[in-house]
């Protein structure tokens, strides 16, 4: 169906057969948010407009600066010191910004989430595959988040039970009230504390001249092993770009009510998120360099009190406490965003209501999936003797391996002129995105095959 020309009042008519009183509570909540955006734009209040429109990009980026990623950056710093990885982390975040910008753009222009669009545009098989991939990786990643929260809490003498309870209480608490805006602002408030990693980096007093030099110098690994290099590259990519981020940002942009008018701010939101995440990730990396030379430093991250315990010996309890709190925050924000992406995917694929602008009573499946996936992950963490460390170690691998399919469909959607109109991908963007897919696929394959051959004792 094609909507007719604009009326004399400048308004478009509502969809056929829809009277104003037929607006759903979700429409009304979203309209109120859009009303504020319209007024801010009309009055020329630029900063307020940015405040209103920021959210999905920052949350996706800082959500991906999750507990396991921060442990990973710290472990990399502890093992290799400054060198290859500091500039490489910045490069992977640039890749993430390219992918997330496409995701935001598709969500804002089509007003539909990733799962729903793939399902409708390419058929149910691809839609369900995408949702299945997402559910699987989300569950594994959520377990890893709970493990990292436990590591942070262990420094303060608290155990797995508290970690599980904290995660679940946060999910249930933030889902209250049925407003996307409220949920997003609570998460943004929590995500600010991702900056604790930067604070910890400042507290370990690194040599800034050396840090500055390392950022500009892209040195290769001393060993020069291609396999090892690919292994590290793939895993660092997996710590920066993941399938859930694509699902989350597209669905959240649609749920927030972003439109094609807001693309500039959406882009800014994504870039700010990427910059903050890169900065905080580098903070964790620099903290890790303080641990360089410690015995077993690379493996300490997920054992007992992990890196905070090690840091306490080297840099004092204040740095260790800040770092431990950072880990708890990183895990908590990731639990909330990853659960949300699961809820969005479930609602979109099954075809039921999937919005934070609905009350839990009206969107049972959405809220149910949100809580259920977190509950399952928490329950697994509480199982005595469960192979938590192995699960946590494999979370990034799975994300990297499954990412190419997600990205290919994202590129197909973003280059679909019929769907995107004048907001279709530029050629240069598509080329960069294809290069990213090729890069991720090669690295993921090298990593997967290498691990398999070693596990099967073939090399």
């Amino acid at each position: 169906m094609t909507i007719g020309p604009l009326s004399e009042t400048g308004r478009e008519p509502p969809p056929e057969g829809l009277a104003p009183e037929d607006l759903s509570p979700e429409d009304i909540a979203r309209s109120r948010d859009r009303q504020r955006v319209h007024r801010a734009r009309h009055d020329g209040r630029r900063w307020y407009l940015l405040w209103l429109l920021a959210g999905p990009g920052i949350l996706a980026m800082l959500g991906e600066n999750d507990g396991p990623s921060m442990v990973s950056y710290t472990a990399t710093g502890a093992t290799y010191g400054l060198g290859l990885f500091l500039p490489f982390i910045l490069l992977t975040f640039a890749m993430a910004v390219v992918c997330q910008e496409m995701s935001m753009r598709v969500g804002a222009v089509t007003h539909r989430g990733y799962g729903k669009l793939v399902l409708e545009r390419f058929g149910p098989a691809w839609g369900w595959f995408a949702a299945g991939d997402l559910l699987f990786t989300n569950l594994v990643t959520l377990i890893a988040e709970f493990v990292v929260i436990r590591v942070g809490l262990a420094y303060f003498g608290l155990g797995s039970g508290v970690a599980a309870a904290l995660g679940i209480v946060l999910v249930v608490f933030t889902l209250n009230r049925g407003r996307y805006w409220r949920w997003e602002r609570i998460l943004l408030g929590l995500a600010v504390f991702n900056g604790l990693f930067l604070v910890a980096a400042l507290m370990v007093k690194p040599h800034w001249a050396v840090v500055g030099h390392s950022t500009g110098a892209f040195a290769l690994l001393p060993s020069g092993s291609v396999n090892t290099l690919l292994l590290l590259v793939a895993s660092t990519v997996g710590a920066t770009v993941t399938p859930w981020m694509v699902f989350f940002q597209q669905s959240a942009s649609a749920d927030k009510g972003l439109t094609s008018l807001d693309l500039r701010h959406g882009r800014l939101d994504t870039i700010i998120g990427g910059t903050l995440a890169a900065l905080f990730g580098c903070g964790a990396f620099i903290v890790g360099t303080a641990l360089a030379g410690r015995r077993n430093a690379s493996g300490q991250g997920l054992v007992g009190a992990g890196f905070p315990g090690e840091l306490a010996h080297i840099s004092g309890s204040a740095v260790a406490s800040v770092f431990a709190l950072g880990l708890i925050e990183a895990g908590a924000v990731a639990i909330l965003t990853i659960s949300a992406s699961t809820g969005y995917a479930a609602g979109e694929c099954i075809g039921l209501t999937h919005s934070f602008n609905n009350s839990p009573r009206r969107a049972r499946l959405f809220y149910g999936a949100n809580i259920a996936v977190a509950l399952v992950a928490a329950a697994i963490v509480l199982i005595p003797g469960a192979p938590l460390l192995s699960i946590a170690l494999n979370a990034n691998v799975l994300a990297t391996v499954l990412l190419p399919v997600t990205l290919v469909f994202l590129i197909m959607l973003a280059t679909d002129r019929q769907l995107m109109g004048r907001w279709v991908n530029k050629r240069s963007t598509t080329r960069v995105a294809i290069a990213i897919v090729a890069f991720v696929s090669v690295c993921g394959a090298a990593y997967g095959v290498d691990s398999f051959l070693r596990a099967a004792h073939l090399i």
């Binding site: 169906m1 094609t2 909507i3 604009l6 009042t9 308004r11 478009e12 008519p13 509502p14 969809p15 829809l18 104003p20 429409d27 979203r30 309209s31 859009r34 319209h38 442990v71 990973s72 472990a75 093992t79 290799y80 222009v109 007003h111 409708e120 545009r121 595959f129 991939d133 292994l231 590290l232 895993s235 439109t259 094609s260 077993n296 430093a297 690379s298 493996g299 997920l302 007992g304 003797g385 469960a386 192979p387 460390l389 699960i391 946590a392 494999n394 499954l402 399919v405 197909m412 679909d416 769907l419 004048r422 696929s441 993921g444 394959a445 997967g448 691990s451 070693r454 596990a455 099967a456």
Partner: protein, 134 residues
């Protein structure tokens, strides 16, 4: 031309919504309303080559995932984590200590010089000549 989302993308760019609570819907684009988003987007016409390429990518990903899962299972078998945990529990060792023991064992054989801690996979082989920093 029929547009997948029900309107030419970008149509509402010049729209000026009315003020006032009764006119809330004017702040949303028509296909942004719940009723609008419920209209399904028509299927894209993919060429045979595109479909074949998509299936090839899907199979590639499934095979790779199977490899990763195999590695995960092999890793568990190698460490015997679960069996060990049961034994420890039967021996009356408290849980916190037990987890440290299991996780210590998991990490013990891993090659720490090769990769960051969380990225190591099972039997990624501590080679004799691997040294930290190498």
């Amino acid at each position: 031309m029929a547009y997948p989302t029900g309107r030419p993308p970008g149509t509402p760019a010049n729209r000026e919504p009315r003020e006032g609570g009764a006119d809330l819907q004017s702040y949303l684009e028509p296909d942004q309303l719940v009723a609008g988003t419920e209209r399904p987007v028509p299927r894209a016409q993919l060429s045979r080559r595109a479909v074949a390429a998509l299936w090839a990518l899907r199979i590639f990903v499934i095979v790779l995932s199977a490899m990763v899962i195999y590695t995960f299972v092999a890793q568990l078998r190698l460490c015997g984590g679960r069996t060990k945990s049961h034994r420890l529990r039967h021996a009356g060792i408290r849980r916190g200590l037990m987890e440290s023991l299991i996780q210590g064992a998991v990490l013990g054989h891993q090659r720490r010089a090769a990769a960051p801690g969380r990225l190591l996979l099972g039997n990624q082989g501590a080679r004799r000549n691997d040294k930290p920093g190498n």
